[in-house]
């Protein structure tokens, strides 16, 4: 890869591999993230999202492969990398026994934010986190959403061009999550590249591009719209029926049905032809003693894509 390309991409990873003993946590992952782009790492727990982010931050050394962040090689110049990134770890990692302002001042010092701008940036972080008037409270006394936003505030004190957010919204209420994403979008508008991992499928819709990760492998990387359009070679039906167990067992054998997945108390069924299936399936199900309450065509969500893609790659790896 030429130097110019690296400069164009604030984050660039090539065949990153991380093994812990015999276990391969990250298996040849490659991608590039552009300036101001929000890329979401999506996948179940243990898929390798955190491990990839940690390698890019210089917290873990890759077993194989290489990556540059802000134009610096993560293996050769980890300190230069660290100067240009903000990182929010999965686990809350500010100092609980320090106050809001003391935490901000500490990270301001560690990131060498100049004394002229530090007070203003601290004020900005406090306002952003919605903690105005609570600057002198101990961080351990704050509720989850505030802690998360303060952690984000601390990680952007030095105005890094790149942000790594590892499940920043886990355990945070929906209202706080929405506010959090507003902040991320505001930063992306300012040209900050954001790599964010999540296991909330709905959050993926907020990203410019989505990287679907399963068992250490990058399954797909594209915008939500393209992913939905390209991945599903058919139509998606929502079926509400009772009892659901028999339906799950019998539907995959029905003609024209490609994929069945349970979503809460309903089924998402991927079929070749929507109209034909809507006409045929209720009678087929009632023959099995299953009563169909609702059947309709729906737009696929990222979760549908994920199920479909992961289902598709599994046999290949077996």
């Amino acid at each position: 890869m030429s130097a110019r390309v690296v400069q164009d991409a604030p984050i660039s990873a090539e065949n990153l591999v991380k093994r812990f003993g015999a276990f391969t946590a990250v298996d040849h992952i490659s991608f590039r993230i552009a300036r101001g782009e929000i890329v979401g790492f999506l996948g179940p727990n243990g898929a390798g999202k955190s491990t990839t982010i940690r390698m890019l931050c210089g917290l873990l050394r890759p077993t194989e492969g290489r990556a540059t962040v802000a134009g610096f090689d993560i293996l050769r110049e980890p300190e230069r990398v660290r100067e240009h990134i903000g990182y929010m770890s999965q686990k809350f990692s500010l100092y609980g026994d320090l106050t809001v302002n003391e935490n901000l001042r500490f990270f301001g010092g560690i990131y060498r934010v100049s004394r002229d701008v530090l007070p203003e940036r601290m004020r900005f972080a406090v306002e952003m986190a919605g903690l105005s008037g609570r600057e002198n409270e101990l961080v351990s006394s704050l509720a989850g959403g505030w802690k998360q936003r303060l952690a984000l505030g601390c990680s952007i004190l030095h105005r890094p061009p790149i942000l790594f957010l590892d499940e920043p919204t886990s355990g945070v209420d929906p209202e706080s999550r929405r506010r959090f994403w507003d902040l991320i979008h505001a930063m992306s508008d300012d040209g900050v590249s954001v790599l964010v991992s999540t296991h909330y499928m709905d959050e993926a819709e907020y990203c410019n591009r989505i990287a679907l990760i399963d068992r250490g492998r990058l399954v797909a990387l594209d915008s939500p719209a393209v992913l939905k359009q390209r991945s599903l070679g058919g139509a998606l039906l929502l079926i509400e029926c009772d009892p659901i167990g028999i339906a799950i067992a019998s539907l995959p054998k029905a003609p024209g049905v490609r994929e069945v997945a349970a979503f809460g108390n309903a089924l998402h069924v991927l079929v070749d032809d929507a109209d034909a299936a809507i006409a045929a399936l209720p009678s087929l199900l009632s023959g099995q003693g299953v009563k169909t309450e609702r059947i309709e065509r729906i737009a696929p969500t990222i979760e549908d894509i994920f199920v479909q893609l992961v289902g598709a790659v599994r046999p290949e790896r077996a």
């Binding site: 931050c57 210089g58 917290l59 050394r61 660290r82 990692s93 010092g109 560690i110 060498r112 790594f164």
Partner: protein, 378 residues
């Protein structure tokens, strides 16, 4: 290395110590407790030993001898027994350490032959005390016989021409009154430095691991050296403050003389602190749990300081192999320096060997500590 990062680190660490009751207790209360406990509780002087007497004669002479025991500061007659069984019981129960038995023919033999004996039975479960008690008892009896000899010669009407045997006129230097507290207190300072320094620093890095703050710290551009200096600076100051407290408390409360200069004490204490804090930090980096780090910290700093530094147990009385080991115990040099500073008033040049040894130790430990902290989670 950037000063602003070290400063941020040091302020953060100070705030954490200030808000942690356990650390605060160690930093501020531990020195006072140790001073009082060891200053009052630990005395190696043998005085007022409890003595049992069994006077089988009950004569003027026997009473005169016993009075000498009572008058001595080393003995305290606690019981008069009527038979050997009582003596055995008293020794068994620890009521007395020494029993003095005066035979029924004490005066008679003294007058007839000029030679008489008394029996002393000593509880030698503590051999050191037993030896010293026997020595003192012999001195008391010796004094009595000299006087008896003089009065006997007198009584026979001979002119008092007493040949003075060779006598050693001893003079004790540096600790004139042979107060054991005067040499214990300087040693206590080393003990307190080791205890406080190791306890506080052994927690400093493991705390970050346990609370999950390490992950974020490692992701910042702070360098391992900045982390080390920033983290240790507050503990270095606390250590110096504690040393100053010990000095003032020892001199003004326990009346221990301080004949050296504060600047030499400062140099010696600083070097010792660098070693102790460096070791505590090394342990803290390697052991990721606070409890484990604190325990190992005590094991490698406090224990050798208490046992092998010569603080209580004289090094030259140890078996040769153990003596050889004490050269590796860095606290040995500090304790030697402290005692010399307090009692002899030795200057910085007199203490050059000790200070150089500590400086060498400090250099090695600082080097190892600066390389110990790795900025990754692997």
């Amino acid at each position: 290395m950037k000063l602003v990062r070290i400063k941020a680190m040091a302020i953060k660490e100070t705030l954490q110590v200030w808000r942690d009751p356990f650390s605060l207790l160690i930093a501020l209360l531990m020195p006072l407790m140790q001073m009082l406990l060891l200053g009052y509780g630990l005395s190696l002087d043998i005085k007022h030993l409890p003595v049992c007497v069994y006077d089988r004669e009950a004569s003027q002479d026997s009473q005169a001898l016993l009075k000498r025991f009572q008058a001595s500061v080393y003995f305290n007659i606690v019981e008069g027994a009527d038979n050997y069984r009582d003596i055995a019981t008293s020794l068994d129960r620890g009521i007395c350490v020494l029993a003095v038995v005066i035979p029924p023919d004490f005066t008679e033999r003294l007058n007839d032959s000029g030679v008489s004996t008394v029996q002393a039975i000593v509880d030698a479960t503590d051999t050191n005390t037993a030896n010293i008690a026997m020595g003192y008892a012999q001195a008391v009896v010796g004094g009595f016989s000299t006087d008896a000899q003089i009065s006997a010669t007198d009584a026979r009407g001979r002119p008092l021409q007493f040949i003075q045997p060779v006598d050693v006129e001893s003079r004790v230097w540096f600790n004139e009154t042979l107060e054991s507290r005067d040499f214990i207190i300087p040693g206590v300072i080393a003990l307190i430095m080791a205890l406080v320094g190791a306890q506080l620093t052994s927690l400093t890095v493991s705390r970050e691991w346990e609370r999950g703050t390490m992950e974020l710290l490692v992701s910042t551009p702070v360098s391992p050296m900045e982390v080390m200096f920033g983290k240790l600076a507050p503990y270095f100051l606390i250590g110096l403050l504690d040393a100053a407290f010990c000095l003032v408390f020892g001199v003004f409360w326990f009346d221990v003389p301080f004949r050296g200069t504060v600047s030499t004490l400062f140099v010696a204490t600083s070097l010792f602190l660098v070693v102790i804090l460096g070791i505590g930090y090394l342990i803290s980096v390697k052991i990721k749990s606070q409890v484990g780090a604190a325990q190992i910290g005590l094991l490698v700093t406090l224990l050798p300081t208490a046992l092998l530094s010569g603080y209580t147990f004289p090094i030259d009385q140890m078996p040769p192999p153990v003596q050889a080991i004490t050269y590796l115990v860095f606290a040995r040099y500090y304790v030697t320096a402290l005692k010399a500073l307090f009692l002899k008033g030795s200057g910085i040049l007199d203490l050059a060997p000790q200070l150089l040894a500590m400086a060498a130790y400090a250099a090695v430990i600082a080097f190892l500590a600066s390389r110990a902290f790795r900025k990754n989670l692997d």
